[in-house]
Symmetry: C2
Subunit: 279 residues, 2 copies
């Protein structure tokens, strides 16, 4: 059926949001709405202006009758900063303190609103990079990987510490756990990653960097390339980390199990992505 | 700044999509766009019409100056049916066959487009129900739980077969694994679920129903209520399942490791949710 501009704009916005990083052709929209390509072009120009203005992302338009548009989700500095500051505060609550100085994160990483922000924030960092897959380790990294993968619209793959019969043949690597200096093993299903992939590594928490370093070895085993490493939170670590170039949204500076205090500050994300704040 | 209708419609659509099941007030939008409430009311009426027309969901509008609107994501029968038929075909490929008659699913459950559909399809089934949390078991159920939780905008909780020190105190239950009749244990962090919650259980695969039955016991331990059980795929099972009332999107009817064939058909979802198809 023929449509009005307002209906088209609503449906197109929704359509793009469900298919980030995907070229949608003028022809497709023209047929879907039984509208002239010239009208669709005008619609795209309006959407492009609005998503830019609102910091939602970028609508890249490819001109000409064979063209179309690609929606690239993003987040603006103010919203990213507000989210990270909110998380800093929430992580600092003393009731998150667990025996052994661990910090309870599972509730936050099970909340859709938090995960949507985490996904947009991390996807923003790699907006100019080619990424073919997001990699994490089971179990707690999975929600982060899924959310980032959703905004980048690429698959995510899950490395496991224990092999499952439902994974088929696997490739395994040994790695040194950074905190305890034990040798451990991780496995990835052979068919889950193509050779020559560009891989982004994400995880919930990094201390010594041993697990992340294991994933680096895994990426090498698959003759693939590491694009970057971003973790939700990094912990304080005495000594040299096994990974040097990484990004963290949050930093758990210190944990005191006697006074029951946790000190959390923003990680290096904001500075790495937006540069120094001037104020 | 003051805005045009077209800009408002685009931003509002995106805003609703990121906050399903959340009341957004007229006042909020009026201030955000420096527009009269009467204009915002007209915008909402346009969005309401379009999301209904396109089968995207329902925009419930609450009238009056103190009102607003709630977006409830859904999927129409045609799209749900097309998705399930596509999955039926993809699951039937013989290269998914693993030793022991298992079917490889991890690639599908790592694809954002598949997960978005799974989430909308399952959320559609519980559109009239109160759900406070989505529960699953680590690891393979997690992506499904996350996607469903995202469309319902409620937290998801992950039951584990192995306890982690980063979870704090846990509640554990024993359960009988339906296929192997072994006694196993599963645990859930005490703080992850409030008493009196209405819980939806989802998982990737169900055979004898032992794991799902374990989650039922877990829900009872938390003095909470089971709202429903939906799995991505059910397998053929000789004998009586430990769970009777469940929904499956797909059904793996038979697996033949000698001929290397897998026979997959749609599960009971379509009939349960949309009724018998007349044709």
């Amino acid at each position: 059926m023929k449509t009005r501009r307002s209906d088209r704009l609503i449906d197109m916005t929704r359509y793009f949001m469900e298919r980030p990083h995907t070229l949608v052709s003028l022809t497709f929209f023209a047929e879907r709405y039984e509208s002239a390509k010239s009208s669709i072009s005008e619609d795209l120009a309006i959407i492009k202006r609005t998503v830019k203005l609102r910091g939602i992302g970028i609508l890249e338009t490819i001109p000409g009758a064979t063209g179309g548009a690609i929606f690239i989700p993003s987040i603006d500095e103010d919203e990213a900063r507000a989210f990270i500051e909110d998380m800093t505060e929430q992580l600092s609550h003393q009731d998150r303190l667990l025996p052994g100085g661990y910090v309870y994160l599972s509730d936050l990483l099970g909340r859709p609103d938090v995960l949507r922000h985490v996904g947009r924030v991390i996807a923003r960092q790699y907006i100019d990079k080619q990424i073919d897959a997001v990699m994490t380790v089971a179990t707690k990294g999975v929600p982060i990987a899924q959310s980032v993968a959703s905004y980048l619209n690429v698959p995510f793959v899950i490395v496991r510490r224990d092999s499952k019969i439902t994974e088929g043949s696997t490739v395994s690597v040994n790695y040194v756990s950074g905190s305890s200096e034990r040798i451990e093993k991780m496995e990835l299903s052979k068919r889950s990653l193509k050779r020559g992939s560009h891989v982004l590594v994400v995880d919930d928490f990094m201390k010594g960097g041993g697990t992340v370093n294991g994933m680096k070895s895994m990426i090498e085993e698959f003759e693939s390339e590491l694009v970057g490493i971003t973790v939700f939170a990094e912990g304080a670590f005495d000594g040299r980390r096994m990974v040097e170039d990484y990004t963290s949204l949050l930093k758990v500076d210190s944990v005191n199990t006697i006074d029951k205090t946790i000190h959390v500050s923003p990680g290096n994300y904001l500075e790495k992505v937006f540069g120094k704040k001037e104020d």
